[in-house]
Amino acid sequence: HQVLRIKTRNEGEVKKLQVLESLEHLKLDFWINPSTSSLPVDVRIPANSIQAVKAFLESCGIEYSILIEDLQVVLDKEKQDMACGQQRERTRNTFNYGAYHSLDDIYAQLDNLASEFNNIVSKIRIGESYEKRPLYVLKFGTGGSNRPAIWLDAGIHSREWVTQASAIWIAQKIASDYGKDPSVTSLLNKMDIFLLPVANPDGYVFTHTKNRMWRKTRSKNRGSLCIGVDPNRNWDAGFGGPGASSNPCSDSYHGPSANSEVEVRSIVDFIKNHGNIQAFLTLHSYSQLLMYPYGYKCMEPADYAELDTVGKAAASSIRSLYGTTFKVGSICTTIYQASGGSIDWSYDYGIKYSFAFELRDTGRYGFLLPANQIIPTAEETWLGLKTIMEHVRDNPY
């Protein structure tokens, strides 16, 4: 098979090529279809049509050149390269951070990061989901024992795809910046970071296979045909209060009791067992908000002034990159009253620096944020997180 590049000089020649396109018996495969004379036309021609097509072009006086003399040779080489490439990808990390990935691919990349940066990154399993999928956390640290640490999770609501995607970008950013960026280096020399990129793996898989808009876990509810609990109404903070539903069919169903969801309980157990978590940060989308407690009551937390200052500084860092504006405030005053939320629990548990982010956008695409916005979102979010982490590092309590 040959691939020809045909240069048309006018609409008449384009029309002639369109006639050629319609001749099905030639079995032509247009890589660039004839549409306008300003673009070349690339076409793959099976061996036994080559003579006929060239004769046609020459008799019409249409210019062409041979792009690929023999396609099979090129294909054979490509297959070879891919086989070698697959080995290389594991070590050279050609994971496309600017695309949305399946759970399996994300989990494979966690292994890649842990192996590529094995001096500072390790993978820990903190439990398993309702459908028995592992809950994997990446630990970033440089040694010591039970150092003060920062917790960061993403994807607790499975349809918020930009959060899982940002989390994995942030993981590789932290890993590769250690030893290069003074701030990250000093941070990891003092503290550990625990990152859970997919807090709700069952939901995430469901958004890929059945329903892109799924939010909750996939647990069965006794006495109801409806499935799932809103994992961010299931924490032990004002549980069952306003802003959560008691209806299992609702997308904000709080569940039968606090921590009924294994995904939530696994995080709670981890945090309690660790005993030295200084900050609890969680990623959601969308709305572009940076929030601190409380959600379950519309009262200011005791550390309101400091949290507001840090929040505003983080929002400022976020804005510095692409001009993306985040509103800062408590959950209750910024979006709505919502009980059983994770950062309310962590704050009341004693983790002063508790923040929830709502990432891009503000509604134009909502949950369906185009993949080309993943990396910009991750980059700006990282700047906000870094500002908070630096404050935590410099203000031990």
């Binding site: 949305y100 890929h208 808009m213 997308d251 904000s252 909502g366 369906l368 993949a371």
Partner: protein, 167 residues
């Protein structure tokens, strides 16, 4: 800047053209909710301080493209799961957005905050007159309850006569 008197809200807002961030226009609005009667949509009085951009050229290009289709347009999942949308579908999406604004207004209370989440399905309906008609199945995302609500709407559009939601 919002001041409220009971159930009446006074809003000062800025409209920004999503296709051209530099094109903005100031507006003010008075919104009156009717808590006594849940089925009544809020009254809205809007004053625009200036002019909206002229979109005749783009409107006519879209109108002519649809009019010249051999078969009625049918499409689904706009945008798709990954947020992708082909350029041909952009105006279909924008039309749905405008039309869903009407649906949202008709169904809003002080405790709701709707956004158009996705077009699940759109089907063009053949018409004898000059209007374009589209049958949309959309998903609305209601922020306070976090529910995703499917909604069917029939939309008429014409470059000179604007958008109308008939169902």
């Amino acid at each position: 800047d919002i001041g409220d008197v009971g159930l009446k809200y006074h809003l000062e807002l800025v409209l920004e053209d999503i296709l051209d961030n530099d094109s903005t226009v100031n507006c003010s609005a008075e919104v009156l909710y009717h808590p006594g009667n849940k089925n009544l949509p809020p009254d809205v009085q809007l004053t625009i301080d200036g002019e909206l951009k002229n979109t005749d050229e783009a409107d006519n290009i879209f109108y002519n493209r649809i009019k010249s289709l051999e078969k009625e347009l049918v499409a689904e999942n706009i945008p798709d799961s990954h947020g992708n949308m082909s350029p041909e579908m952009e105006p279909i999406h924008l039309l749905a957005w405008a039309a869903s604004g009407y649906v949202i207004w008709q169904n809003s209370t002080e405790n709701t905050n709707f956004q158009l989440a996705q077009i699940k399905h759109v089907k063009q309906v053949k018409r004898e007159d000059e209007y374009l008609e589209f049958d949309y199945m959309i998903l609305l995302h209601e922020m306070v309850s976090q529910e995703i609500i499917p909604w069917q709407m029939t939309v008429l559009w014409h470059p000179q006569h604007g958008v109308q939601v008939t169902q």
